[in-house]
Amino acid sequence: MNRWPRLRAALAYALLLAFTLLFVAPVLFMLVGSLKPDELVLAEAGTLRAFFPDTISLDNYRAVFERVPFGLYLASSLIINGLIVGLGLLVNAFAGYALARLRWWGREAMLALVLAVLVIPFEAIAIPLFYQLSWIGWRDDWLVQAIPFVANPLAIFLFYSFFLGLPRELEEAARVDGAGVLRTFFVIVVPNAKAAFASVAIVLFLFHWGMYLWPLLMTTSEAVRPLPLGIANFHTLPPLQWGDIMAFGVLMVLPVLILFVVFQRWFVRGVASTGIKG
């Protein structure tokens, strides 16, 4: 079985390197493109210069900061996503806990409801929702970009499955000591469900960071526009400035990358836990 361990390892490495190339090349292409003059991005795409530029400059980045109030958009994006993740964790964990652990009339119906709305994609209801909120005159602020996304059936489902898998003994001990449901939840359940919270936070964040259609419909003020809308600033009359677009892309993904690198362990563990516990 392990007659040629070295060969096997070499083979594995070869495969891994090949995959690495496939996964990294587009990212590198974007990074390098953002450092090149606009007209060279495509012109050199077929050559090795696509990955190893002969000259680099930060002109595209300068252009991005001139054309888009980047700091302002970034702040809006962070606030909106902060609200979605912060409130979303609380609200969906509550619901998941009630569904997984408490006995109450209506539980089955609620569970069915959550599973049913799981398949409604947001784009399918975006315009009716837009009408609905226009009715009450609610638009153009941060909250309208966050509140509709706080209650999330997928997040509820993830919490629900995670809580099902938690050992019951701790909670029972707490309850015997006279702790109420809420107290049990915050003191016992939350500290033991860090992985679930991490994974839901990540899922919510990744899903909403790139959101485009909704803010497009709901915002006009510069002060509340999120980052993805900035890309519309580059879709002017041709020629498209690919370098600028790539630079904006790098800047847009940078905050996520930083989060990713800092919290890498949690990212991977969190995402992983969604599957096992599911």
Binding site: I136, D140, L143, T220, N233, T236, L237
Partner: protein
Amino acid sequence: MLLAFTVATALTLAGCGPEVERGEGAPDADVHRLEIWAHAGREEERRTLEAQIDRFRAERSEVRIDLTWIPEGSYNGQVQAAALAGRLPDLLEFDGPYLYSYAWQGHLRPLDDLLPEEIHADLLPSILAQGRYRDHLYGLGTFDSGLGLWANRARLEAANARIPGGPDDAWDAEEFSDLLERLAQDDPDGQVLDLKLNYTGEWFSYAFAPLLQSAGGDLVDREPEGVASGTLDGPESVAAMTAVQSWIRQGRVDPNLDDAAFARGRVPLAWGGHWNYPGYRAALGEDLLLLPLPRMDETMVTGQGSWQWGVTRRARDPELAMDFLAFLLRPEEVLAMSEANGGVPATRAAVARSEAYGAEGPLHLFARQLEEGYARPRPRTPAYPVISDAFDRAFQDIRHGTDPAAALSAAARRIDRELRENHHYPEITGERGERGERGDTHKATRDQHQNRAVGQIGVDAKEAPVGGQPLGEGLPPFGRREGSPPTSDGHAG
């Protein structure tokens, strides 16, 4: 349901809390406030408009101007969304294709009574043509666009091509096809024409409808308003699109994904417009030629139209808005914008003084096309965005080999269905457009004044609620049925 709405309203109020001050000055300051939305074009264009606002303010220091840049990529979506929510500005910039639907929807105020006669007389006929919907002028551009063929003089001479001298001297269809073949013989890949196939959306209607019109067809029949069947899929239009398809099929057209087919010398001919000039001039120098589009029948037809300004029905002070527009239309201001974005100056006085577009200028052809009636406005119907989208789809299908007659007739059916479903866009008279006034009680007299002006097209003044409550703003069309009572209870006026 009730509970749901209560919760939603509570959320809204919470949401409004910290934001309520944004963009709203004290009511008294409103009198001389002008809220403007403009498209976030290129750097120079934006700087120029900002400088123009400063210059205007230098003359009218009592006026406060709030400018919001809206990205071009999402402009119409934002306008529609804001209109629905009753949050349009006083002065709105918009792209040509949308004027007719904004006008029909009642978002715009006619400009006829506001526009000074001397400016009217100085405007290019193309500007007046595109700004008109039914019997009123709703839009004023400070620049227009030019569409033509860019050519590489050296390559044409090498192929012994006849070089047209003006819009009345365009190549005919046969001459053009022959020329493509001759040019192809000396071309490494045989691709000699750039149709800007890399552009998306509106380009195809803008750039190729003239070919249909030159052949005797059109996107839609202009009289009565806009039926497509029999016109868009008529033999003339089909012939024009068949010609385009044959150029593509024979491999004469460069896909131009890098947007540099012409500038890099891969092709000697490029369909294009005034916006290509700086780049092409830099690439080709003295070899750059500007020629009229080919004609498919007797006369050449070209495109026109660009961004323009309109005054919304919500404008608190339409005269002030027009003062600002009149300022933008002064020759020196028109020239400043033309130099910034390269567009054709919108007034004769400015054209005459323009280095690029004046009698001796390299782009004079564009100005001539607009002045001498070679340019045809887009179909002036609220259905235009649908027409344009249907034609775009047909063009893409034809490009990929679909039979032109079939593709065009599918597009025609699509357009006519749209017309039917909208009952051919009947004139709307009613309370619309007067709804959702901003909440200040100081403007009752101004509202009466405004209603008088608007009354010309049958807006019923008694339906106009003033001092609109937040809940009365932005009702979707359910609330806008003709003759329905005003939903807002705030009859402060």
